[in-house]
Amino acid sequence: MPTLFLFGASEGGLFDFDATLPLMAVQVVLLTFILNALFFKPVGRVVEEREDYVNTSRAEAKKKIAEVELLETELKDQLKEARLEAQKVILEAEQDSENLYKEALALATSEANASREKARREIDSQRDEALNQLKSEADNLGGLIVERLLAKQ
């Protein structure tokens, strides 16, 4: 039956030091150089390149955002000015049209007044004429009546 070898056996044992130790050390040192060449350097390069890329992209994006914000405020100012101008134009146009309306109204009113005045004067003159005619006719008739009455007597 196999037995459990332990401390310090001349043949075998758990603490059996021999040339395995330096050979293993050399092997690990070699592995360090191999892994450095195959793993740490190339992967490090890729990772650091990506980190640089991300950092520069982020910086660029930040710059662009700042530019955009500047443009936005500028445009907003322009928009505000344009709006004010438009309001002014509208106000002016409204005033113009009001003025035009007022002028037209005044003109029309004065024309109407004038023609009404003219008409009233014509009416007045015709009425005066008619009254005069009536008066003269009444006078004639009166004279006639008086003559006739005087002639009968």
Binding site: G12, F33, V43
Partner: protein, 241 residues
């Protein structure tokens, strides 16, 4: 010499037996290298597949690799500091990845299906040689990091903040690799033993939650080892004022 006074009836369990390969005058543990080569091969295959065609919009394996890279970078950066973490990131990352694939490979791959003439395949980190090798590498690294960054002023660290600290700091240089290696070794070996014993005693259901616990422990141990290694290096390169 090394026999325990009692004999466990663990037919499936061969602790402390190794498959020896003779190279010149030296002997090495063959099973450790076999599993470690397989696992390193799998890791490298994953890395090669993931980095074959990398794009700015990551897809598939590239995502996983980038996640790992990011994770390791954060670990190294928080422990070592902004200034020099780049120099040490590959080392910390290799420690983390190697320990992680070793631990998980030991727990997930059914190595027991492969019969060896002696010993058995398992996590490379369940062998004390591996963990001591890793821990000694960490010790060398933090000395090198401190000396290369600060020159001889590195030794100010030993008398910081007061010279009374000197003996403690010196002892720390020994306890650091000791605790690093034994923590990893003990955890992984204990996990394998617990699972093996449970599978042997109750081959149904019961080992499954313990296996999941083992996976959790394995991941945590890899993280702890890498974090502590990074912390030691960070401690060595830190500037005192």
């Amino acid at each position: 010499m090394g026999f325990l006074p009692f004999v466990f009836p663990l037919a499936e369990l061969e602790v402390g037996q190794h498959l020896y390969w003779q190279i010149g005058n030296f002997r090495i543990h063959g099973q450790v290298f076999m599993t470690s080569w397989l696992l390193i091969g799998a890791l490298l295959a994953l890395v090669v597949i993931g980095t074959k065609k990398m794009e700015r919009d990551p897809k598939g394996v590239q995502n996983l690799l980038e996640f790992l890279w990011d994770y390791i970078r954060d670990l190294a950066r928080t422990q070592i500091g902004e200034k020099v973490y780049r120099d040490w990131m590959p080392f910390i990352g290799t420690l983390f990845l190697f320990i992680f694939v070793s631990n998980w490979g030991g727990a997930l791959v059914p190595w027991k299906l492969i019969e060896l003439p002696s010993g058995e395949l398992g996590a490379p980190t369940a062998d004390i040689n591996t963990t001591v090798a890793l821990a000694l590498l960490v010790s060398l690294s933090y000395f090198y990091a401190g000396l290369s960054n600060k020159g001889l002023r590195y030794f100010e660290y030993y008398v910081h903040p007061t010279p009374i600290m000197l003996p403690f700091k010196i002892v720390e240089d020994f306890t650091k690799p000791l605790s690093l290696s034994f923590r990893l070794f003990g955890n992984i070996l204990a996990d394998e033993l617990v699972v093996a014993v449970l599978v042997f005693l109750v081959p149904l259901v019961l080992p499954v939650p313990v296996m999941f616990l083992g996976l959790f422990t394995s991941a945590i141990q890899a993280l702890i080892f890498a974090t502590l290694a990074a912390y030691y290096i960070g401690e060595a390169v830190e500037e005192h004022h």
